[in-house]
């Protein structure tokens, strides 16, 4: 009944071959799935099987019934959203985690799961040139979360714990707490405001500089003063290094000065761009982090070659984080926890259970080494730079600047409606996949480079497809 180790060998190798074939032949698929809502579901049985089926049949159905509904995020012509690098070493590290099947909720339930995590998050902090205060051998430390959204949520909870002296967790929210974002901040912060009982209306929107789209520290200071005067308790400011929309960079140092003056928690959401600091020439993006930041999150599962899910969150002081999230029921009591000599990462996150996710990050950092990580980031930036140069040289288009990292935001000099129609036509072709945003209210296309398989030729072909579609649409 159960799959034996020998059956696992046989089917496991079939699956490995399936993935290698899929990756090797990924360009045979349209990038974006060409299915209507409900089409995949309609092709699957309405009821589960009574008797077990051989694994081969699942692989056959995967090809016939599932793949047509898959949008291929690992395709070299995938330029939408942000990259979601799922590389060989990370997949195999994750496979080892599944094979071991351990629960790392507390140190005692599988010590290596906790200790390897501490090692790799310290390694990553070093690779990114992050401040020593983020290392786990002091009062701070790092932890792997499932997403930057969850990292932001626990940062808000830690900030609330600190500013309220722990009363929010014990007694609930009984006064007006505020958090500070901009129009460009990820929606996860508003979501955190809703989840924590702060309320969306208390998620205050600080002005941005109209050209850079970066937070205006003077307006932040003004809002903090006005809110404090009105009786609110500012809990957290979120600065973003590399916004989702355009990769804008908030001025962390200037924001940090304001936060320090007002004693407000400063969280940095560097979900996409933080990993770029593996390159010494890009460490400037973290200016002010060492001096002012309480928490910082970046996603190896976007651009740093690690498959989902793997966000790393660091804090300079783990006490308020643990204070906000720790509850110790009897069934989890154990001598190691009571001794205080170990880390129990369940107290650093929302869920209790946790996979051995450190294995995949360990596999990535070792397979690539610092040199390989840097080469990957530089390649994405160079390819994006090439694309931006093509856009800039064509006067039918506007290029959004300043431009950083692997994302190019641009638009034909058209109405929003025409651009959205163009986008849909391009994506329907299956030859490439772009996404969009709005900059100052106007539809803008997003071309994000960073897949491990994208080459200069793919970028040139994409530009050819875009310009051909624009030419075909004609002037108006």
């Amino acid at each position: 009944m159960h799959m034996t180790p020998d059956e696992f060998r046989t089917y496991g190798k079939q699956v490995v071959d399936w993935i290698a074939d899929y990756r090797g032949g990924i360009e045979n698929h349209p990038v974006r799935a060409k299915v209507r809502p409900g089409e995949i579901r309609a092709g699957l049985p309405a009821h589960p099987p009574d008797r077990g089926e051989p694994f081969d049949r699942l692989l056959a159905d995967l090809d016939e019934r599932i793949l047509p509904g898959v949008t291929h995020w690992q395709h070299p012509d995938f330029f939408a959203y942000f990259p979601a690098n799922a590389t060989g070493p990370s997949i195999l590290g994750d496979l080892l985690s599944s094979g071991l099947g351990v629960q790392g909720m507390v140190w005692a339930t599988s010590p290596a799961c906790t200790e390897l995590e501490t090692v790799v998050v310290d390694w990553l902090a070093e690779l990114l040139g992050l401040p020593p205060g983020f290392r786990t051998d002091g009062p701070g430390g790092g932890v792997i979360q499932d997403s930057a959204s969850s990292a932001a949520l626990v940062a808000v909870l830690a900030a609330l714990h600190r500013v309220s002296g722990g009363t929010v967790g014990d007694e609930g929210i009984s006064r007006r707490y505020t958090i500070y974002v901009t129009s460009e901040t990820h929606s996860a912060l508003e979501k955190a405001g809703r989840i924590t009982g702060i309320g969306a209306r208390n998620v205050r929107v600080v002005d941005v500089d109209p050209s850079t789209l970066a937070m205006d520290p003077a307006h932040l200071a003004a809002l903090l003063e006005a809110d404090t005067a009105a009786g609110a308790v500012p809990a957290l400011v979120c600065a973003t290094i590399g916004t989702t929309s355009t990769t804008a960079i908030d001025p962390v140092a200037a924001i940090g000065e304001v936060c320090q003056a007002h004693e407000v928690w400063l969280h940095v959401d560097a979900a996409y761009a933080g990993v770029a600091a593996v390159c010494p020439e890009l460490r400037w993006i973290n200016e002010g982090v060492a001096e002012y930041v309480d928490s910082y999150a970046t996603n190896p599962h976007k651009w740093l070659l690690t498959n989902h899910d793997c966000t790393v969150l660091w804090v300079t002081d783990r006490a308020p984080l643990i204070g906000a999230l720790s509850i110790l029921p009897e069934f989890l009591r154990n001598p190691a926890t009571e001794s205080g000599a170990v880390i129990d990462y369940r107290d650093w996150q929302i869920p209790l259970g946790r996979r051995f996710r450190a294995l995949k990050l360990w596999a990535v950092l070792r397979w690539y080494g610092a040199e390989g990580l840097r080469a990957h980031i530089r390649s994405g930036i160079e390819l994006a730079g090439g694309f931006a140069a093509l856009v800039a040289a064509d006067d039918r288009f506007e290029l959004h600047e300043p431009r950083h990292f692997g994302l190019v935001c641009f638009r034909p000099k058209w109405t929003d409606e025409r651009i959205m129609a163009l986008l849909e036509r391009l994506n329907e072709s299956g030859e490439l996949y772009l996404s969009h945003t709005r900059v100052h209210g106007r539809v803008t296309l997003r071309f994000a480079v960073g897949s491990t398989s994208t080459t200069a030729q793919h970028v040139r072909d994409a530009w050819a497809a875009i310009t051909a579609a624009v030419a075909q649409a004609g002037p108006r």
Copy 2:
């Protein structure tokens, strides 16, 4: 630099063999790791490598430096906590998810990821005999979460949304909301109370029946009346089917009547035991669910043969859940979402990003079929019954009853201190691994059967080890 498809074939097959060897030889390891705090970390390099390393070296280090710190949850002599079944088909389904590397945050970003999830959660509802109102073709539906903790959190948020008419998310918590648990409820509910701004003091503890440890519906009614009279707004009651401590079963039907009278959201946490309802003879555990329940969560990643993470949460009305969690930034706008014809599961969970987790549940349900799933649950119950019979026949021990499912709670007729010392001695031996809880304040041992590799002989050997240790300690 990147691992090529052919390198992936080579290393992938090595990893598959590594896992097959590990599983085949798992009994050569002590169940619980024999390491001191910091020992694993000390054996790893303090700094990340500059240059990439071959994958073989990682596998060698896994054996030499990591495995000594691993507690083996898949070991047949692992009887602690609850089982965390990580079976072949689930591991391979998860591997396919990693290999595809798609993001299923909204339908449009990979339609099959969403639609297969809808299919498998509907299948599982059918397999468990759950009410038709949980199916996705009505106003309700199911979703895969990372944990029962997160499922409880989003249930609380949905309940707050409904009872406040949406004002909690928009304006924040501005009055006293209460939720209802017992001393036996999982700590995740208190954690949800802390996270959502309700506050731990507003997590009200309902009395339990002293013999069954099940919630007392009359006391629940009394608390609801008193709290309402005092101006509080009851938001959610959590009933548990199979508590973490002793697998006690709250009387859902009687609790549901009270909830209905008070118009309070009823969440059922059936994290461990819910999956047992694959067996028709165990469907009685869900009595009252069809009539009264608003949300229901169970964990295939515990006892239903699916590797972590895979909790399924169902709701009878998805509107308040989506109302509590949906925010639509421009970069995620797309025609399918705007049409309302599709499900965007990111609105059913805390994080934005999501893996293609449906693949592993699909693989499990197809490999085993209903018959195989039932055989696994029945085997665990039968083995636990055999162990309980041994305990009951030995008058040096007390057996906790009523007893359900695959867990046996028991204690030598000793002081708490002696029992804790016995537990530590047994676990240190590496021959078996138990955990403990407190029942009516007294230390009680937990023997949870449910690993796929545990046989009647393992159970007999465990009993022999326990009785030998008790005999060795002698009477006092």
